[in-house]
Symmetry: C2
Subunit: 268 residues, 2 copies
């Protein structure tokens, strides 16, 4: 499971303040803690706009990469901010761009950047038709986007992390089946791409959201999801990841599960 | 989800003592508590042998049915004990026989009983070939057994609860995929039967077993399992059941999930 740690996000109150105040130690600690808890990428999202977004992205990249050797995931819809962030990125591991989609404007601004950087990229299953609602909507946006990234931008399929777009079960109860079907269709089209997503939208409007998010993760993993944007400090979520990997035969001899147990990481 | 409450089992130390001492209040309370926690059937397993097994089964049926109006699940390989238990059963709901299999001896002793009682029955995916190990083993035992129960014993398919036989992931790591495939094959053969099982074998030999059991339940439910033999007093397990039902669109408008939340049953 490829975990993208989501905690350095400027829409969270304390992170917003730390970015504003240039509190490097706060950001560094969030990067370190997520690294130690098993994050494979550290997401950095400035949560600001315009010129400020560019400056903040540069500062977040510089600050986070001092604290971790894990690759960063540059998370902003602002292509200029991504470009500036990549210019100061010094990590040896290939970074990630979050995100591109099939929406005309985002595609036109991001595709040249992705091509130049040959970075990992989160590819949202979104087209100009808007949010997916019907059966087939997700795969109809994802498949041509994968093809553009592989054929036009020259990315190895392993650099493409398709996000099937998770929407709330409270507004469309059959959505889990639609997402699972989309994941299977995407992996049938190209078995080498990864599938990732944030999970929390699934539980919007319902109580005990973390329980639903964890159970949804297991269901999506059974359909082929092999990555997620989540809080690696959430011990119950990480235990669910390890247990699901062991059960789905993605953890040889259950060694990851047993290691997590010995380290006390399954004690939830 | 059709929950079969497993707690009245003579292989558990306190239950064994209560059966031996004819402690009716202890058994009655276990029946009541499981009923209140959402069990649809109350399993009674004497855990003894021979003549004692018959007497104990009769006493358990008489004792448990005083405490609950839920149907009982008579759980013993002893056909005479099942027969004696059914004779004293006074519940208005159709009881369950646990269990029959395609093994020659068990089939020959149990099939006439099942036919005469027209009861629900747990149908183990076991033949004379022994425990399932290879792809296809489970469905190859289950399919002819379903046909015998429906065609020879005249059971409505809805009375048949197929148990795909859960074996430990620690001894065969790909087993979850084999079980999920078997569940799908069984429901393709006859979409009207139920699929049930105990879950705890899956985690044998591994730490933090309850976590693995819960996650396995979600995976098997996604393949079509709609019943389980479990401890309904295990709040985390029941929360997992409710969350999975809500996500898999088996809980209209998430009403069961919301009711469980309001009753404090999801507070885990």
């Amino acid at each position: 499971m490829i975990v993208i740690g989501e905690l350095i996000n400027g829409t969270r109150k304390k992170v917003k303040a730390a970015i504003h105040d240039r509190d490097a130690e706060y950001i560094a600690e969030l990067a370190r803690k997520q690294d130690e808890a098993g994050a494979d990428f550290i997401d950095v999202n400035p949560g600001t706009v315009g010129e400020q977004e560019i400056e903040d992205t540069v500062w977040l990249v510089q600050t986070a990469q001092e604290a971790t050797s894990k690759p960063l995931c540059l998370d902003t819809p602002n292509a200029a901010a991504i470009e500036a962030g990549l210019q100061v990125y010094t990590g040896s591991a290939v970074p990630m761009i979050n995100s591109i989609s099939l929406e005309t404007e985002r595609l036109e601004t991001m595709l040249p950047l992705v091509k130049a950087a040959q970075a990992n990229v989160i590819a949202l299953s979104l087209s100009d038709a808007g949010m997916p609602t019907k059966p087939g909507d997700r795969e109809q946006a994802a498949v041509p986007l994968i093809d553009k990234l592989v054929d036009e931008a020259g990315l190895a399929p392993e650099r493409v992390f398709v996000d099937p777009i998770i929407t709330p079960v409270s507004t469309q109860q059959e959505v889990v089946g639609l997402i699972m079907g989309a994941i299977e269709a995407i992996l049938t089209h190209n078995p080498r791409v990864h599938v990732t997503s944030g999970l929390s939208n699934i539980s919007f409007g319902l109580p005990n959201r973390k329980l639903l998010n964890r159970v949804a993760l297991t269901l999506f993993m059974s359909a082929g999801m092999d990555s997620a944007v989540l809080d690696p400090l959430d011990a119950k979520m990480m235990a669910q990841v390890r247990a699901t990997e062991a059960l789905l035969c993605r953890d040889e001899f259950c060694m990851g599960y047993l290691t997590a147990f010995r380290e006390g990481a399954l004690e939830v």
